[in-house]
């Protein structure tokens, strides 16, 4: 492995203390109530806290907190494209970068972006693109940067919501907001908006899988869909329906945050 000369270096190898944990790890139960008290097989999403305009330097920004999952997103642009070689200049370009802070997961991550981060970035870009009026921004690019400060599950879904909120806050013309929701199928039952331990603990039964949906609520269209694992066709369609339902639960909160941000930027004229 090439050494990283651009950072302060530590020892060659170091191990996470959780590897030497002397207590047996608790496997979350695959039936009954969930660890955080939410209901199984129901559209029971975690309460979210959203806020716009936290990053002063960015054109638009948003922060989302769902349970312990914390994400910050900032949007820069539209500005001149860096890559002049591309022939298609009629349409703007959307670039996304999603990164995990090294301290965001139970195991320390590396500073260098892994392939997982790149997959997340790509999914984010593909989910957001259909919602943006990119033809209004010829020869320019819009940059979306997402930073995961704490990963407590369903980061992909919340990143999509957070990014679309930041884009709206930046005043980028859009057809609709994009909301994200994910579920985890575990045998015959499923959990909505899974936490990190629910995502990473697999019981051995069949029909395991994860599903993330990006959804345009007022157009009633799905812009992004990612599923992994093994699921039957009916389960998958039912899962998508559940995710959409989850998105609708999120919608009023997001709308309110946007209205609040707009009010703050342009206070209503005083009534006289």
């Amino acid at each position: 492995m090439p050494t990283d000369t651009k950072r302060v270096r530590g020892p060659e190898v170091s191990q996470s203390p959780s590897l030497f944990d002397c207590r047996p790890s608790v496997v979350p139960p695959s039936h009954g109530a969930r660890a955080d008290g939410r209901q199984r097989d129901q559209v029971d999403v975690r309460p979210v806290f959203v806020r716009c305009g936290l990053v002063s330097q960015a054109k638009g920004s948003a922060y989302i907190e769902a349970g312990d999952t914390k994400l910050l997103c900032s949007v820069y642009g539209p500005r001149e494209t860096e890559r002049k070689d591309e022939t298609d200049m009629k349409c703007g370009r959307l670039t996304t970068d999603m990164r995990f802070a090294p301290f965001s997961c139970p195991e320390r991550g590396s500073w260098i972006q892994g392939s997982q981060d790149k997959n997340f970035s790509l999914m984010l870009q593909e989910s957001l693109q259909p919602a943006l009026c990119l033809h209004k921004y010829p020869r320019s690019q819009i940059e979306v940067n997402v930073m995961v400060l704490e990963n407590s599950g369903s980061v992909q879904a919340h990143a999509i919501t957070c990014a679309s909120l930041a884009l709206a806050d930046a005043g980028i013309e859009m057809y609709d907001l994009v909301l994200g929701c994910s579920i985890r199928q575990d045998g015959s039952s499923y959990v909505v908006d899974p936490t990190y331990s629910e995502e990473s603990n697999w019981s051995s039964s069949e029909h395991q899988g994860g599903l993330t949906v990006a959804f345009l609520p007022s157009l009633n269209q799905v812009s992004g869909l990612q599923s992994d694992g093994e699921m039957a066709e009916e389960t998958l369609t039912a899962g998508i329906r559940t995710c959409i339902e989850g998105c609708y639960k999120l919608y009023p909160v997001i709308q309110q945050a946007l209205v609040k941000a707009v009010r703050r930027a342009q206070p209503p004229p005083p009534e006289s």
């Binding site: 020892p11 170091s14 191990q15 944990d21 910050l72 930073m147 704490e150």
Partner: protein, 277 residues
């Protein structure tokens, strides 16, 4: 009108304020922006703190891992600080490996840790020559509006004060460490270094806690780090216009006053965190 003047002649714009001994954001020359502190908000880290200095936001997360100590220093652990300026925090930073500013900041923080002995590397030793802790102190800027060095030091100090290391016992028979993640203890923090940064305008006007605009227009920067015993841990001036000894003394006096304010703030926030638990 004012906005146009600011864009067309930024230096003139700032100077017109500085001549009247005030700054565009309404502060006096030796006034800091409001400092807010949030400790322990990241549960996945062993210690964390978020600092806001005006709109500059910096987060520090500390993760402890186990490693073998070096042969040269068998009784010492490692402290690995890194500062990251991601493209998220300002449009001046590009994606990719850290740029010169991020690297120089990392080195500065590493020097402050070593010079001030905020944590003694000996305290991180578990089993001499065999096992020690590595403290990865990852500092990330979330909003870049100048003076990140001061914000980084506060975030680092507060995060270290918040760090709880799990209990380790080395099994005599297998020589393997056994860790109890539930039982944690505090890390001894020996010193409380706090930084104060200045900018010099037009070779003579000193301002404290510069914003990003002020930083880019100034002719020189200076950071003074002091601890609670009024000893200097670092006097970092990477170049720029020269400074007389009297001006230097003014800066040091301001820095010691600032150190007291910040130490009080950290204690206050830590107590409120403890009370909430």
């Amino acid at each position: 009108m004012a906005a146009g003047f600011k864009t067309a002649e930024p230096l003139e714009y700032h100077m017109s304020f500085l001549k009247e001994n005030c700054r565009p954001d309404g502060r006096e020359l030796s006034e800091f922006r409001t400092t807010t502190l949030n400790i322990g908000s990241i549960s996945t880290a062993d210690g964390s703190a978020l600092v806001k200095l005006g709109s500059t936001t910096v987060i520090c997360g500390i993760k402890a891992e186990l490693a073998n100590p070096t042969v040269e220093a068998p009784g010492k652990g490692y402290i690995v600080p890194n500062v990251d300026l991601p493209p998220l925090c300002s449009s001046r930073f590009r994606p990719g490996p850290p740029g010169e500013q991020a690297q120089a900041s990392s080195q500065f923080i590493a020097d402050v840790i070593e010079s001030s002995e905020i944590i003694k590397p000996e305290d991180l030793c578990i089993d001499r020559g065999k096992l020690c802790w590595v403290l990865y102190c990852d500092i990330m800027c979330l909003d870049y509006d100048g003076n990140i060095l001061d914000a980084c030091i506060i975030a680092l100090l507060a995060a270290l004060k918040n760090t709880r290391l799990p209990k380790v016992t080395v099994n005599k028979a297998t020589c393997k460490p056994e860790i109890d993640l539930k039982e944690r203890h505090e890390l001894p923090v020996h010193k409380h270094p706090v930084g104060t940064s200045f900018c010099i305008f037009q070779d003579s006007i000193l301002i404290v806690d510069p914003t990003a605009d002020e930083e880019s227009l100034s002719t020189s920067r200076l950071s003074v780090v002091t601890d609670e015993e009024e000893r200097l841990c670092s006097l970092h001036k990477p170049g720029g216009t020269s400074l007389s000894a009297e001006k230097l003394q003014t800066c040091i006096n301001r820095a010691t006053a600032r150190q007291r304010e910040i130490q009080k703030l950290i204690e206050k926030v830590l107590n409120s965190v403890k009370a909430a638990q």
